[in-house]
Amino acid sequence: MNVLEFQKVSFRYAGENSDIIDHLNFSVEPGAFHCLIGVSGCGKSTIFRMINGLLKPNQGEILVNGVPIGAQKQYCGYMPQKDLLFPWRTVGENLALPLEIRGGLSKRERRERVEEALRDVGLEGCADKMPAELSGGMRQRAAFARTILTGSDLLLLDEPFSALDFLTRVSMQEWLHQQWRRSGRTILFITHDVEEALFLSTSVLAVTETPIRTLREIPVPLERERSRRDLTRPELIELRESMLDALKRQVRT
């Protein structure tokens, strides 16, 4: 069964006179890592906001694990572009937010889960620090751990590394890829960086038209285990160039 399925989904923002998403069908199989790539303002984030329930489609149905999202809660973990760690809470208290909202766990149980999640992302011993004491990369890892603690297997990451400097971004990409290989979760990742998309994805979903009617699936010819050097292979360079051309054409129109 598909983790995520869009069935003829349409969406139009109030006050606009045309749809931004038009009868879109697509599905995501379990354990996949898809990067959603497209130019700014093409509707990538709209797709995410419909999946996480912040926007309601005007038409069609979105299913997660075969069930309409309207009938579910906490079916996906959403990580926005900014880390959005609350400055008045410690790192540990920030991570506990999804657990607090879901309820049903004692303070001690929450603390244990948080400690474990922090260990997983390499932030052991940071639970009592304030977010301001962490570096940009550490903050993103904390935000990722908070997303994991939603407990869902479908993660939506909306340009999480775009505000980081180049070297931190590269190491975060490698780190994220490793996390994904280890956990087996399904990840949808928005980016407009072609290289980032190629390095991370099992296949890229490219937005090539607005309104979005289809997503063009471009398989990435790389193993799950991969390194950045693989991106210098001739077939990948060619793929990168053809993707860039496709995106550039869209900017012009």
Partner: protein, 250 residues
């Protein structure tokens, strides 16, 4: 140490002004019109027993009761206006309009309605202080980041979760600012009330000295009020620094 050095220019200016005042007052030599700072300090010392044991507690009681009611009223109004657009539409103009009432002019009416007891003064204090509290805290609640609320919504948060986990912390720095504004105003409110009719209090003492043409006696309780207000604002500042550690971060 650093704070002391930052305050140095202000201290020097105050000292210079006080010296100028002292010299001017000595020149005029009419204490019933312009008492000198030294005469005021002397009067403060001379009257310390009635001032500190009778009048200061009376004024402080008015301030405390007035502030407590103002806080309750202000916070409830702020939360109501934040929670419901209808409440905001109905209440906001009324709250603003309440500030256009010339409180000093209608305060004598309060004395007529509530007598010389504490409540006429408390009402003046409330009228003066609830506005900054309600409006500032409302602004604080509104300052909550939409993105943070959306993130919690994706976790399945209720309106109550968002209020308690985002809006209240966002409003906290605003709340402390409101408190620091409202405390000196509450002292002014209490003094106005007491000037118009009271049996005790610093405002009452000041007025009584006025009728006796005792300039230093008029000023002495005013100095006391300023000191108390400054101390209270300082205390709130201290608490604020402990509670709100994230001011300026987003």
């Amino acid at each position: 140490m650093k704070a002391n050095r930052n305050n140095l220019p202000a201290m020097l200016l105050i000292l210079a002004l006080l010296m100028l005042w002292q010299l001017g007052a000595m020149q005029i030599n009419a204490a019933y019109i312009l008492p000198s700072p030294i005469q005021i300090l002397y009067k403060l010392w001379e009257q310390r027993i009635p001032l500190l044991t009778v009048h200061l507690p009376a004024t402080m009681l008015v301030c405390a009761v007035g502030m407590a009611i103002s806080l309750g009223l202000g916070l409830v109004l702020a939360a109501a206006m934040d929670g419901s657009p209808l409440c905001r539409k109905a209440l906001y103009p009324v709250v603003v309009a309440s500030q256009t009432i010339p409180t000093t002019a209608i305060a004598p009416l309060f004395v007529l309605w509530f007598g010389y007891g504490i409540w006429s003064k408390v009402l003046v204090t409330i009228l003066i202080t609830f506005f900054p509290i309600a409006i500032t805290v409302y602004d604080g609640l509104q300052s909550a980041h939409v993105e943070m609320s959306e993130l919690l919504l994706t976790y399945g948060a209720t309106k109550r979760d968002i209020f308690l986990k985002i809006k209240v912390p966002c409003a906290l720095p605003y709340f402390f600012s409101a408190l620091k504004m409202a405390i000196p105003m509450s002292v002014i409110g209490a003094a106005i009330g007491e000037w118009l009719g009271a049996q005790s209090g610093l405002g009452y003492f000041s007025r009584r000295m006025m009728t006796q043409l005792d300039g230093a006696g008029v000023f002495a309780p005013v100095v006391l009020m300023s000191v108390v207000a400054m101390l209270a604002v300082g205390l709130v500042g201290l608490i604020e620094r402990r509670v709100v550690k994230w001011r300026g971060e987003s």
